[in-house]
Symmetry: C2
Subunit: 767 residues, 2 copies
Amino acid sequence: MLSNRFQNGMETARLVWSRLPRSEEGDLDGVGLLSTTSNRNCVESLDYEVIENYAYREEQRGKLFVGYNVGMKWFFALLIGIGTGFAAVFINISVENFAGWKFSLTFKIIQKSYLAGCLIYILINLALVFSSVYIITQFAPAAAGSGIPEIKGYLNGIDIPGILLLRTLIGKIFGSIGSVGGGLALGKEGPLVHTGACIASLLGQGGSTKYHISSRWLQGFKSDRDRRDLVTCGCAAGVAAAFRAPVGGVLFALEEVTSWWRSQLMWRVFFTSAIVAVVVRAAMGWCKSGNCGHFGSGGFIIWDISGGQEDYSFEELLPMAVIGVIGGLLGALFNQLTIYVTRWRRNYLHKKGNRVKIYEACLISVITSVISFGLPLLRKCSPCPDSDPASEIECPRAPGMYGNYVNFYCSKEKEYNDLATIFFNTQDDAIRNLFSAKTIHEFSAQSLLAFLVMFYTLAVITFGTAVPAGQFVPGIMIGSTYGRLVGIFTVNHYKKLNIEEGTYALLGAASFLGGSMRMTVSLCVIMVEITNNLKLLPLIMLVLLISKAVGDAFNEGLYEEQARLRGIPLLESRPKYEMRKMTAKEACRNQKVLSLPRVVKVADVVSILQSNKHNGFPVIDHTRNGETLVIGLMLRSHLLVLLQSKIDFQHSPLPCDPRGGSQGIRHNFSEFAKPVSSKGISINDIHLSSDDLEMYIDLAPFLNPSPYVVPEDMSLTKVYNIFRQLGLRHIFVVPRASRMIGVITRKDLLIEEETDSTTMELQSTSV
Amino acid sequence: MLSNRFQNGMETARLVWSRLPRSEEGDLDGVGLLSTTSNRNCVESLDYEVIENYAYREEQRGKLFVGYNVGMKWFFALLIGIGTGFAAVFINISVENFAGWKFSLTFKIIQKSYLAGCLIYILINLALVFSSVYIITQFAPAAAGSGIPEIKGYLNGIDIPGILLLRTLIGKIFGSIGSVGGGLALGKEGPLVHTGACIASLLGQGGSTKYHISSRWLQGFKSDRDRRDLVTCGCAAGVAAAFRAPVGGVLFALEEVTSWWRSQLMWRVFFTSAIVAVVVRAAMGWCKSGNCGHFGSGGFIIWDISGGQEDYSFEELLPMAVIGVIGGLLGALFNQLTIYVTRWRRNYLHKKGNRVKIYEACLISVITSVISFGLPLLRKCSPCPDSDPASEIECPRAPGMYGNYVNFYCSKEKEYNDLATIFFNTQDDAIRNLFSAKTIHEFSAQSLLAFLVMFYTLAVITFGTAVPAGQFVPGIMIGSTYGRLVGIFTVNHYKKLNIEEGTYALLGAASFLGGSMRMTVSLCVIMVEITNNLKLLPLIMLVLLISKAVGDAFNEGLYEEQARLRGIPLLESRPKYEMRKMTAKEACRNQKVLSLPRVVKVADVVSILQSNKHNGFPVIDHTRNGETLVIGLMLRSHLLVLLQSKIDFQHSPLPCDPRGGSQGIRHNFSEFAKPVSSKGISINDIHLSSDDLEMYIDLAPFLNPSPYVVPEDMSLTKVYNIFRQLGLRHIFVVPRASRMIGVITRKDLLIEEETDSTTMELQSTSV
């Protein structure tokens, strides 16, 4: 609500929507939406509704089939968990090895010449980033960005072409290895969520049809509804793998991504996450014995701060609240700046083609390398603190190792460069250093401030380049930097208290993510799981609540804003305030309803399909008394299947008997299944002879006989709630009923098993 | 689905339902349901639907009002958090002080005479349990049991009279102090959930109307819908307070209790939980300085096992899976046995009145005391292990302190009684001892087995007595006992591995709760939060998945079974398989629809209301053409308000003009608000003169003009999903529409802010 009230400041952003051409037609198809990548110029709604036509009813093969189906769903959950776990391990091993090799080579060379080291560093980064942007622009354009807004859109009911293809998966995996290994200010966590979703979707369709590696027996889940469940599992698996946070994964899928939820799914999602946790743990155990090169336990972000501050005093609540406010402000600013950057890229830069995208990414890579190498050079080294024999932290750290106190361009032996410790390092290591306890005054305020400004700028300009890019790790970097800054001031102010700057860095990270992404419960659990410290939970909650509230005063969450910019029309969980005063009739006042008769001439179908882009057509029949009757909804995609197969064409304009047994139904349900993330057949692909055009089709067996209806004067808030909570694509608006058949209450829905088993027995004996 | 397939074994349990008298009428009211307590003989559905009548539309006072409303909701979330936190602290301090005083007195006396000590122990327990059962039977019968099935029912849409009253709250708080302090085999966590819900509901209605302590300005939330949100917050607050598990509380509310969810609510629930965590922490900090008597940090269950086993080898997965299976079997058995016990109590024992309930509870108290005191006496003492100077665990423990190695009836100085260590102790301490690390071989297998059998039996027979009783802590006791048993065998078998029996005890606890309550994510998070060890998360997940799957093969979860026994007709999240083949028309085939005309004679209203127990009546009007038209739904409760106030009676049978301004609407929306958990007015309470009976009422301004409708041939699964997911009470079944007004798709629901702000400006200028 707060967000609702303050969104008026965002009118400019909303103008993008209203400027879009809005067709008067029934569905989203006609809306030519601008978007970042060229192939993403059209979105379509998904059919989550079960089309209860005769083919579907035939398909209902009794309880055994249902049991088989459930078993398959669990098997798929297992496969998704294993697949996503392995993908995450592969990405992590690759990134760690590239980055580790890069840093150890650079450190070796700078022993002799800093200039040569800098050049080598820049060139390796450039090569890695180039590989990433080349893959994305030439092979898998849908794999650019984090992918979370697209997946969020998918689970909200919008199909964005290309986001769940095999090539997108490949592009995502190899692209994020290049972009993360190349040291850009982005993370691999968002792309892993997308990777998980792709794996889930590809498993659900039994492989990729385009590359002929699909297996027939895996193709149990052809409907959008089943796929949605799988993609939800994949999403949770991605988060679980990225952060080694299984509970956080479940909650992320629940809070941020899905619009629709049921408790059976929750259990399956939970199972998938648990499998991921086991797979990742097994792989890490195997790698610990040195089988994976540079990859140690560092690849998966676990910033264990269990050695740090475990308690807090009430005086500390004030600086912590300050962190929350800063997080809200900087997070909202980040969202706003990324909107501008994305819009500028879309309207201006990326229109010039793929070559510009490659130049752009390479330029940003060079800038990032120069800054991260050069800025620490300008910083004077600090002397190592008086070494505490009990402390295990070495100063300066041994060359080529991970750890605090990096000796970089320091003249003396016992010195370290605090800026290089965070800047000239992998992001994972930098965060570990920022979170580290027992290192009070390791970083000077000037270094942290310089790093904050530079990295924030880099994160903003990197956002939206044509590489896979997550915002989690950059967010944690930014947040932990200003968190540690506040920590420094707090330590100086409350000298008597046992305060660890690392704890403040953690709270800062939570606050920035909260201020930018506006998640609460899932972010809180993820932060707790990655830091492995439960005692700070109430503080993280507090900071998140403040930063989300502050951020909501300015704009919407990062993913919502990005989804809007990419032309993904998300239905938010709350209907707009204005809808309370509107009725269903008003919402569709400009529509001309195009309906089909029950038995329709093929030529008429073709002309109707060609004349508009509606995706659903009401079918209207006449009773014997001459009254008209809306008998159901016919989907465009099903009509196209009928036109293509031609076997249901008939010569007579009289209806066939739909209950006349199997000869009436020549299709099985799976023929109506929609391919994943591809356009399906178009009316222009279908060639019909003039004889065909003179024939008729009886639509009765194929239509959805019971679409959802609302009376014309229902308020639009109610309609919105039905639409979103049931995940619909079409709702029929009809006049008030002329009579009542009955009223269904809770009692009518409480069916006992016995009575039914008796009726079922009766039925089976009568058949 | 698995559970669906195997539920046929449960036909006997389902028979209870079908044997209930089922009226042919519209709502649940006519169904006289048997139940445990005498006052709970009738349940009613809740009105979660927004009744968009003219009074409601008048009430919509623009965005400022919405903002105020949102602010109030957050303020209430704060109050609920503080209230529940303080209630939990009060209960914990009281229980800890009673129990601590009891044990220290007994230990003092047994230095002289074991017989006298036993008698004192039995008498103190008896007195505490008697106080509890007396309060429950005489003052607050609805406070018996855990209350979770009732709250689950409430949030599913069923109002059980009395569960949210002030007297129930008082009974719950003082009753659970007595029953838990009295050493019965039950916990205080379930009752705390109910306590949180009561506090939320009472705050929502601004105090108790019966006891005249309501404040007018707090009464912002009169609708069932707002109350549902508050009760959800209260529920989460209860769990958060009971286990000091704020995230677990949110997830418990989400997974187990609610049937309906939206993400704004999630944030508010999260806030409430965070407040509880802060309040509880503050109170415990205050208590640590010795202000609360015996109450230390022990009162809130935090069984920190961070010193224990942190890693696991793959060989251990087998014994862990065994724990999962045992948990599933014992959990399902527990559910089954409690069904028998509850049914026996209901049909036989508790029919004899309150006196029998008091006798029963007292008898169980004496049995529990005798067994927990007597059984350890029969057990030979064990010699203390060779003391490790590094270990801080003393053996035997100092008298009167908490800890392991209790010296009880031991002849030698350096001996301890392992059975007394768990049995003759508060349950919190016993669990801490069972979970404790570095105490291998403290407990002998015989002692654990004896304890398991005795405690399991006690937990079963205690279940269903007329005292507030939670099943969490007994479940953890049972589970950790057999978990530790398996741990003993594993330690002996894999001697090389670093295995802690305490870790197995923890897994056992998780498995039993999973096998009985069938929660997954929330239980997992709660277990992690109370043991403060994140590293065991994947193992807890694994064990929970196995035990839930095993348990589901036999029966439903504890709360579902108990809700069924108590006559709470929950709508499960998945429709029954048989519904796929049924249509809406078939579901209401036996109904005689009773409808009202738009302008209705008062005498007719009275006779219709007296002749049946429907709660909603379709209102049918005639157009000028003579066609009939269903214009809306009139609730019984609203009709009664109209009849009681009489100000809308009119002499003429002609309709008034509903749009004729405010003189037509003489009621404001709050007059239609329903009181919480009380019966409201009945038709028999309303006295009308014969003049009144001759008058008319125009129902148009008061009816719900847009109830949800489904076409007659929609399959019942779809109807079920609408009904449950939207939280409805009535759905109108109507014939197929004769014509279409339009089709609403996603595009029609994406309203831009600009156009609306323009229209709003136009509206405001024209007004």
